[in-house]
Amino acid sequence: MTFVDQPEALTGTPTGEAGIADVHEAQPLGRDVLRRFRRNKLAMLGLAFIVLLILAAIFAPLITSYDPIHDRARGQYRDGPSAEHWLGTDTIGRDVFSRIVYGARISLRIGILATALSLLIGVTLGSIAGFFGGIIDSIVMRITDMFLAIPYIVLAIAIATVVGRGKENTVILVLGLTGWLAIVRVVRATFLGLKELEYVEAARALGFSRLRIMARHVLPNALQPVIVYGTIAIGGVILAEAALSFLGVGVFDPTPSWGLMIENGRRDLANAPHMLFFPGLAVLLTVLAFVFVGDGLRDALDPKLRGRE
């Protein structure tokens, strides 16, 4: 989850003549960004995969005729791939392909909602810390340090134990509440760099309130690194969900979660490896797709950084 190693480096440098009224125009958003993004083959590949995955998740019942939970093939336990069951069956005869397709719903839902939650917390706390500085900044950073020191798996288990294990909402809450730590740092670093710039000074000289300067003039410029980080973070959350379900603190059986499927498959690794490797591959490809799109977005938003990382 730590692809954004240099938060400062991600910050687009808004030009001085951008003016106060329309900060948005100073951003290289729009057609240029789109054109640069389109030229990035890996990013386009990633985007295509994500679109495909979203479609598969939405139209799951049209893609597969097996119910991921209730349909059990009698006598076909741990069978390898066949014409009938494309990716084989699991321990109790459920169709692996159908469970992966329905599992995409869970993974995407958890990935998007948990990331949204951590962005909400992270951007709020990060802006406050970076903009106001001083004692507020110190307090926010101490709290962040404190949570960063706890291994996130232990932290996630702790939170899950309180709000109740095994439910999808719990996993969203857990990953949302553990994911904001890195975002705070990214946003705070961006704010520290931005608030000294001329156009913010100008806004201050015009007598705008601090809240207005923060929300209207600084925040929009701080959003670029957040968008990039958020995209990559969705992949990170999907990876983390798989890890939690694998350790038995994520969602519970019979929910078709990729992490849970991997966990179920580990005991039959020697004679039915398809039970473990297909969901594993699903996680790998999905996370990779989000990373490629995130990287592509970063390069497209700020071409100066191209090839630096």
Binding site: F3, D5, F147, A149, I150, P151, L247, L269, F277, G280
Partner: protein, 337 residues
């Protein structure tokens, strides 16, 4: 410098205290009686006598604030309590499991440094070559694959498929996929006997994510260094390309990578819980995962304390060495970095 170090060391105290107190309250302020859990397991109904006995033994019926004070009093005198299961002292469990994790961790970091830095270096020097492009994709894949899936893949490849273990290799090169073997070590971390056959696969698995990140970082950092003025100066002085890159390039490019290794230590700890579970390497991570499953709070808190301490100390060392190299950090305070 001294005042910076003192300030930075003092900052550890609220971090560690806060982290552990948070976990303490979360685990002990749970809905439901921990004593019933311990006496009865997950869902059975224990007898009142059993519950009373457990309460008595662990002081669980005292007011929470007293338990909290008591916890810190004990912890400060390095008494980590007693496991709910099997009634062993947590200090004893720690003494047994921590060295195993540290050894595995040392080898993972060695792999991270050696492989990560050299791969990143070659990638940067041969920028846009086929090998650079392959490396970029491989490092992205290595950081996107779940650690446990990689672990199982290695196990499957070595033990089941006609993989390396089915080739006609000498016995010392046949790698094991479970456990720790003889578990005999020279100078604490050098494996002897058949231990190394057990060490290789978990060490590679544990190192995978951070090695990929280190390689990416080294590539970026080296590309920046290659464009720097002092590199041109070095070439103008008539040094060979090898000397220019070796003496001036690599050393300067390595600094941010070393910092990454410190920052990334938390990821390594997370990965070690998964790696140790996959390879039955009974270290801290394996034991924490086991304690979670058994709801063995003292073991969990005790071992997590050590992990939190290790994390903060490693980051302290990284910060201080960073300040040593870059005076701006210690003058501006750690906050602005």
């Amino acid at each position: 410098m001294t005042s910076y170090i003192i300030r930075r060391v003092l900052l550890i105290i609220p971090t560690v205290f806060g982290a552990l107190s948070f976990l303490f309250f979360i685990f002990f302020a749970l809905p439901g009686d921990p004593a019933e859990l311990i006496a009865g397991g997950a869902d059975r109904n224990p007898s009142p006598e059993a519950v009373a006995q457990v309460n008595d033994r662990y002081g669980l019926d005292e007011p929470l604030i007293e338990q909290f004070a008591d916890y810190w009093k004990r912890t400060l005198s390095w008494d980590l309590g007693e496991s709910y299961e099997g009634r062993r002292s947590v200090n004893e469990i720690l003494g047994e499991t921590a060295p195993r994790s540290i050894r595995l961790g040392i080898w993972a970091i060695i792999i991270e440094i050696v492989v990560g830095i050299s791969v990143g270096l070659v990638s940067a020097i041969r920028r846009y070559s086929i090998s650079d492009k392959l490396t970029t994709i491989a490092t992205a894949a290595a950081s996107a694959i779940p650690v446990f899936v990689l672990g199982y893949f290695l196990q499957y490849w070595f033990a089941v498929l006609p993989g390396p273990n089915k080739w006609d290799l000498p016995q010392w090169a046949q790698l094991k996929t479970q456990g720790r073997g003889d578990d005999s070590w020279l100078l604490f971390f050098i494996p002897t006997g058949d231990t190394w056959r057990h060490l290789v696969l978990p060490a590679i698995t544990l190192a995978s994510v951070s090695t990929a990140l280190a390689a990416r970082m080294m590539r970026g950092s080296m590309l920046e260094v290659l464009g720097a003025d002092y590199m041109r100066t070095a070439r103008a002085k008539g040094l060979t390309e090898r000397q220019v890159i070796g003496r001036h390039g690599v050393r300067n490019a390595m600094l941010p990578v070393v910092t990454l290794i410190g920052i990334d230590f938390g990821t390594t700890i997370g990965a070690s819980i998964l790696t140790e579970t996959v390879f039955s390497w009974r270290g801290l991570g394996y034991t924490i995962a086991e304690a979670i499953d058994a709801r063995d709070l003292p073991v969990m808190l005790g071992l997590t304390l050590v992990v939190v301490l290790a994390y903060t100390v490693i980051n302290l060392i990284v910060d201080i060495s960073y300040a040593w190299f870059d005076p701006r950090v210690r003058l501006g305070g750690s906050e602005t970095r």
